[in-house]
Amino acid sequence: MILDIENLRVSINAKGTRTPVLRGAHLQLEQGKILGLVGESGGGKTMVCKAILGVLPESARIESGAIRFEGRDLLAMPARERRGLLGRSIAMILQNPMTALNPVFRIEDQMTDVLRLHAGLDRAQARARALEMLTAVHIREPERVLRHYPHELSGGMCQRVVISIAFSCSPRLIIADEPTTALDVTVQHQILRLIRELQRKTGTSVLFITHDLGVVAKICDSVSVIYAGRILESGPVERIFSSQHHPYTQALLDAAPRYDRPDTALHPVSPELREQLAREAEEFDRRVDREVAHA
């Protein structure tokens, strides 16, 4: 188990009111696998991601739980050591490749900086490694791309560069937050394929955050569905995409149009289901509160 999140409770405390955003979330990512974390916006996907990276907003408080990376709890680790893991052992691929890269630096500087900082390479070694990585993400003229600024590249190209940076320090975990949402479908396919290919080659584990169940079905080994800060179900994709799944997962599937089934009506997630889930979440909250009080 490379990443094991256990009973993670996070709340936002603003103006005297406490709003739970993660209610005892559990997440398990096996070594060398891709885990999809899927849900609607506001469901807590981003909070999980921020909690792992230690970039929760000021007003957020971690109330309980553990985030174990290779068996060590990130939350109990000294801040310095934790920062040391980021970039080297844990890397990040963001949704918007254009803003993930700094617009005033050439691709070469952005790639080599990371390598010199985290892998301790010298300038020439870093450049060689950067070229190697750009070739690995199927960029045809890596030497030329190195000289460019981010705005001179297309969105798909930028995402390739971001991916090559993420993989360049041979991280053991990559967190990909909606990495293809801003891209065209054909480019999305290329990027998904690229992530899969590099992941297989390097044996890295990936936490893949997305709202698109279609993407999950195609790239992930297992999936966790999150709603209102609670993981509703987890399991291998084969099971979740067969008939045995949570009503909410079914509701998400029913809401998305499919070009191969034009005549099925589109159903938004029903208010009744949302109400029921909210009730369950509150009950769950109270139960955990009682357990905490007991202990």
Binding site: H189, L194, K218, P257, R258, Y259, D260
Partner: protein
């Protein structure tokens, strides 16, 4: 109702601005032919750079045309000036992708929705216009109390409903919807698509639905037009195009859509295009 022939549009290339004089023009649309009948729903599909959003605006004469002609309800509108277009603008409307930027951040929803009634003299005074605006809000499934709010206080789905409400305020014959559900959660997307479907049935308006998502287009449109690099590569009834796509680009687009079914072969199925700069 809408007939577009050999439409060419070129826009200034701001990225290549020269020190002196005007920036060079780049041709975005290279000869588009399109017909939309009254009450029909046409899907316009393409990826970024295909020119679909430019076409949306050009159809409503929001961009200058460099060649070609547009006829709307039997009248040639190719060379009409803004003054002559004004009465026609009530008949053709657009809903924008970015609902945040499409609404003035400093006007309340009520004021924004009253605007079309005021500017076309459909309301005798501002109070009546606000009343009509409240009616519009309820028509698109929002509460009339939203009128007092500002755009940033609404969710993306709610803002998009406001955009739709504003477009249908004057009972147009044609509504162009430019990527209006991209960026919304699937559930909200289903609601907005459902709303469009209902309004189309109620008002008999024609709808040009622009989207990068073939599944969205398939759910709503009778006819579909596929664009790439400023030209139409394939067009026809949805049935035909989706069941037996002719153009390789259409086939590629369809294959690239990840359906929610486990299929380990999919990820390796299409060749990765090596992208050069």
């Amino acid at each position: 109702m809408l007939e577009v022939e050999n439409l060419h549009v070129a826009l200034p290339d701001r990225g290549n601005k020269r020190v002196f004089g005007r920036p060079p023009l780049i041709e975005i649309l290279k000869g588009i032919d399109l017909r939309v009948s009254a009450g029909e729903t046409v899907g316009l599909v393409g990826e970024s750079g295909s020119g679909k959003s430019t076409l949306a605006r050009a159809l409503l004469r929001l961009y200058p045309l460099s060649a070609g002609s547009i006829r709307f309800e039997g009248r040639d509108i190719t060379n009409l000036d803004e003054h002559e277009l004004r009465p026609l603008r009530a008949r053709m409307q657009i809903v924008f992708q970015d609902s945040q930027s499409a609404l003035n951040p400093r006007l309340t929803i009520g004021t924004a929705l009253a605007e079309p009634f005021v500017s076309y003299g459909r309301a005798s005074d501002s109070r009546e216009a606000l009343k009509l605006a409240a009616g519009l809000l309820e028509h698109v499934g929002l509460s009339a109390s939203m009128a007092a709010r500002y755009p940033h206080q609404l969710s993306g789905g709610q803002r998009q409903r406001v955009g739709i409400a504003r477009a249908i305020a004057l009972n147009p014959a044609l509504v162009v919807a430019d990527e209006i559900v991209s960026g919304l959660d699937v559930s909200v997307q289903a609601q907005v698509l459902d709303l469009l479907r209902r309004l189309r049935a109620e008002t008999g308006m024609a709808l040009v639905l622009i989207s990068h998502d073939l599944s969205v287009v398939r759910a709503l449109c009778e006819r579909v037009v596929i664009m790439q690099h400023g030209v139409i590569v394939e067009a026809g009834p949805s049935e035909t195009v989706f069941n037996s796509p002719q153009h390789p680009y259409t086939r590629k687009l369809l294959r690239a859509i990840p359906l929610p079914e486990v299929d380990p072969a999919w990820i390796d199925s299409v060749d990765i295009d090596e992208v050069a700069t």
